[in-house]
Subunit: 612 residues, 2 copies
């Protein structure tokens, strides 16, 4: 086993383990930090600056051109060029980060002002006089005279006497959209927060934003407790249809509240200073959160109950933010393309891209969107949970003990999450292994693991001895029993390979159909954007090698991190982005693959592995 190197990213102190020689960009993605790479990691834009002082490769030609001698001396490097050779520390400045930048400066149509739906106004109303005893409500309205047509909520009205009576007569009005939702005594303008949620089938992530600056204050994530009712959307829908809707809803609301409490503890920012929450998720997750009957999502024509975004008092769902705070759930596109995809489109600025660009979010379902000159076509395919570790004999999620990176040389080199003894294989290593097996000639393009007597003559012994008889064919032993945490060998079986073929075939077929719909060839694709937690950990060349992605230069493939969450943050930080989300949701042309005659043939072809 090759040793991994340990990289600590600052300022957050997150750790990643990668194989020696990996570029900083990849290690950062592994730590959940998405570095800005507008040039696709070619070393031409200079946007991915980080600080690394030791344990890394010498500056490349590209770095010498883009960084001054002083900068290099200060440890400044490009994340796409610098390779990690030993344990080290990397500092990623805010200006190089994808999400932060995007929210503030990169929305479609150029730089975006910070303009959240919720805002504060500090007022100094005039006192009432006996000759004309003006109502409290009229005194604050006079001080808000520049804003027309605000609706005063009862709960806010109730706060008026106390808020106006305290201190020096200064009062802060909290306004959401056109509603006055609260009055706070004194000047509280400095406290204005919102939270963005990405509700995934498996994982729920929360991000607390300071809405004065747009900066992320804290992040937390948890497993969606609905997994107890089934690990895919179909089993959740079944449970809901059998009378479990309220139970599923309560489960996810409980999870959001647990995240809010965690964020409160970690950031010290009380939940009642969170005035708005935004949510993205797949259509089923949105429906379950909102208590919308999801039954029709599971039957033809898979029509959602609600497409449009909905705004409501957060208290209607029992969300523990400010008592009159709001919840905005972003719009869906179709039954299998949800607001998470709208978030991806927002965060990647797809609507504004002139060159053909593909965004892919790989999970249990693969959602993909192709953009061309403002036209957006989307589809979804049921990739199945293979990349998440399910239906793979030794599959597991990217938890400690998961093999997450595999290279074949004279022998097998692996990298394990947490640098622990290996317990199983996660999705990215699954792709690595299949790609490497193809390269080594151990796996043929039809997806068959060759018998020992069929293996290439030049195959090193270290690999050859790993091909052993298994159920329905041969297995490839990645880690022997003596090195695994379980005392059992960790192997990839012939059946595992078939699962990978089904998963990648479904996604690739969807991509091919989008290309054809827009009349595009592989060479036309200016960029492929990989979104979602899983996308961040894929080795791009391996994804192309197994045919998951079309054969484009791997520099054109970019990781965009949790772009769905970034989209939720944008909708939180800007009403203009929220409006854009609604427009995106309406404009995207959705292809229901099940209704297309050509899908079966595309799928069958995409199941095969490329010849080279």
């Amino acid at each position: 086993l090759a040793e991994s190197v340990r990289v600590v990213f600052q300022p957050e102190g997150k750790t990643a383990f990668v194989l020696p020689g990996s570029v900083v960009l990849e290690a950062a993605a592994r730590a959940g930090i998405v570095v800005e790479t507008p040039c696709g990691g070619r070393g031409t834009c200079g946007k991915c600056r980080v600080v690394v002082r030791d344990g890394c490769s010498e500056p490349t030609e590209a770095e010498r051109q883009l960084l001054s001698a002083d900068e290099l001396a200060a440890g400044q490097r490009l994340a796409c060029q610098t390779r990690l050779l030993a344990d080290t520390v990397v500092v990623v400045p805010e200006s190089s980060r994808f999400g932060e930048q995007r929210i503030l400066t990169e929305g479609e149509g150029g730089p975006r002002e910070l303009a959240p739906a919720v805002r504060k106004r500090v007022l100094r109303p005039e006192a009432a006089a006996l000759e004309r005893p003006v109502a409290d409500s009229d005194r604050v309205r006079a001080a808000l005279a520049d804003v027309d047509d605000l609706r005063l909520e009862l709960a806010a009205a109730r706060q008026l006497p106390l808020a106006l009576g305290a201190g020096d007569g200064t009062v802060t009005a909290v306004v959401h959209d056109r509603d006055i939702i609260a009055f706070e005594p004194g000047d509280t303008a400095a406290r204005l927060h919102g939270v963005a949620f990405d509700v995934g089938t498996t994982t729920v992530v929360a991000s607390l934003l300071d809405l004065r600056t747009g900066h992320e204050v804290a992040v937390a994530s948890r497993t969606n407790p609905q997994v107890a009712f089934g690990d895919d959307v179909v089993s959740r829908i079944s449970h809901a249809t059998e009378g479990g809707l309220a139970e599923l809803q309560q489960a996810v609301v409980g999870c959001l509240n647990a995240l809010l409490r965690e964020i409160e503890e970690r950031s010290g920012i009380p939940r009642d200073q969170i005035y708005e929450a935004t949510v993205v998720g797949n259509t089923t997750m949105s429906h379950l959160l909102l208590g919308l009957e999801p039954e029709q999502l599971a039957r033809i024509p898979f029509a959602p109950v609600v497409r449009e975004g909905l705004t409501m008092p957060a208290a209607e769902l029992g969300l523990e933010v400010h008592e009159r705070g709001r919840l905005h759930v972003l719009p869906n596109i179709a039954g299998f393309v949800g607001s998470d995809t709208v978030g991806v489109i927002l965060a990647t600025g797809l609507l504004g891209r002139g060159e053909p660009t593909l965004a892919v979010d790989i999970g249990t379902n693969g959602e993909m969107v192709m953009a061309l000159d403002g036209r957006l076509v989307a589809c979804s395919t049921a990739a199945g949970p293979a990349f998440e570790g399910a239906r793979i004999r030794h599959g597991m999620r990217a938890a400690p003990g998961a093999i997450e990176q595999v290279r074949l040389g004279e022998d097998v080199a692996i990298s394990v999450v947490g640098n622990a003894r290996p317990r199983g294989i996660c999705g990215s290593a699954l792709i690595d292994t299949v790609a490497e097996l193809l390269r080594a000639g151990i796996l043929d393009p039809s997806g068959r693991l060759l018998a020992p007597d069929e293996l290439p003559a030049e195959l090193p012994d270290g690999l050859r001895r790993r091909v052993v008889p298994g159920e329905g064919g041969y297995d490839f032993v990645v880690v022997g029993a003596e090195e695994s945490a379980t005392g059992e060998p960790i192997a990839l079986t012939q059946r595992d390979i078939r699962q990978v073929q089904l998963a990648k075939g479904a996604i690739r077929a969807g991509i091919e159909i989008l290309k054809k719909r827009l009349g595009l060839a592989d060479s036309d694709l200016a960029a492929i954007l990989l979104a979602g937690g899983f996308g961040n950990f894929i080795r791009r060349s391996n994804a192309v090698r197994i045919g998951l992605l079309p054969p484009v230069e791997h520099e054109r493939i970019r990781f965009v991190g949790n772009a769905a969450l970034a989209g939720a943050k944008m909708a939180l930080a800007s009403v203009e982005d929220r409006r854009l989300a609604e427009e995106v949701s309406r404009r995207v042309e959705y292809l229901e693959l099940g209704s297309l005659g050509e899908f079966a043939a595309e799928f069958a072809e995409a199941m095969l592995f490329p010849e080279n």
Copy 2:
């Protein structure tokens, strides 16, 4: 004792007892039925048509001019002309009724369309197709395409699958203002109701309207259970300030819900078909209902927390109407002039009156508004509860056994509520008695009951013997011990007279100040409109005799019934009237009498009785 005549009003079957010779108009008012009299009861407009077949006077000259021989033969008569001589039945057609008419046809600025904030749209959405699986929400929006910018509420969204799946694909959208609040399966357009509440300090009245027609379906009233915490607004405010706000709020909400249940039972219309409620009340009642801290209403400068009208989900207050129904509380004018006065202004069309018009609502407080050419000036005086029976030795409310009408001739003639044996004197009889005592010379203009030796020589013995020594002066015995229900005499004391002087003096002083503010003399007053339950029962000539009202011909004095409730109904039936209420609330010039130096002198003068 003179016999009363018994009059039954149809179609409601309400009974009133009046002295023989009373006009139908007065008897109707006594039964709570307000007849339309645009001409002020002069017999010139012909609007007050009723049907009376016997027990009444012969047609007057005015009736012969305005009614054809056929009409007269069919029993048609004018309510302002026809006098009741014996027990009889009177039918009051809808076209002659004040409230009903007003809502449909007589708002300020001419006839008003029925245009409630809540309305229904029957939709037949297209079915979803596999090639383009349209969301339920988009299908109904397409069918609602002519209405822009409607907001879909979560609760309504949840109803979509069931509503769209039932029956023939017809679904009814319930829209409030710009919110879609519900979807109902099938065509439910025929079911659209609203309820208007008048929340008085003593009595709460509810009126159920069919919002397709504007017609009243049922009415119910109850004593405000807050009376347990004090019978005037000041004691309620004290209780609220001492921690009892929630208790008072729950009490009145409980009362509204009890009225809703009563109306449901009586009308057979389920509460969940009531989509909106409107409320008028004095400013304190509004504050307590809404849970607004009323403490500042009891201290200088008596500024309300909220002036403007508020709209909210009825569920926020626990009101048991449709689960997403709305509650609209009409705007106040000032701390002591509430939305009930705004209702009076709406219902009487005061804003549109060119000629000087005074509206007076007499209760524990007297609220009065003077209108002149679109200018409105209002004030409020603490009349005290004398007219409601409090602080009067034998005073009582107009309940069975209350003497409600008194005339002095050779002896005393009385009319008693329910034709029972008398138990006490209610407000209208108090005014009658004082006026008659003045006319008979038993009471002098300073308010002193004369001693037997000072009485006029020509005074009949039947009256003379009723003046008996009492505490601090003399008493006038209205009913002897042998005729009363209690076995005690029912008398008016010198102290009672002083209470009447205080009450009428306060109201009259307010009227005088309004007149002066607008530069008006008594002779300029085109009309005095008496609103409120009490106003209906006052004999106009007697109110003038005691100086409660200025000396105008009594034809100019009109009863307008529960105009506050009529205003609440108008705001329920028409968003335009609701907007007008807001405008009225802002435009009225409020005079705080306590801040006016001239008030004390006006009050002192108004305490005296007129010389003749």
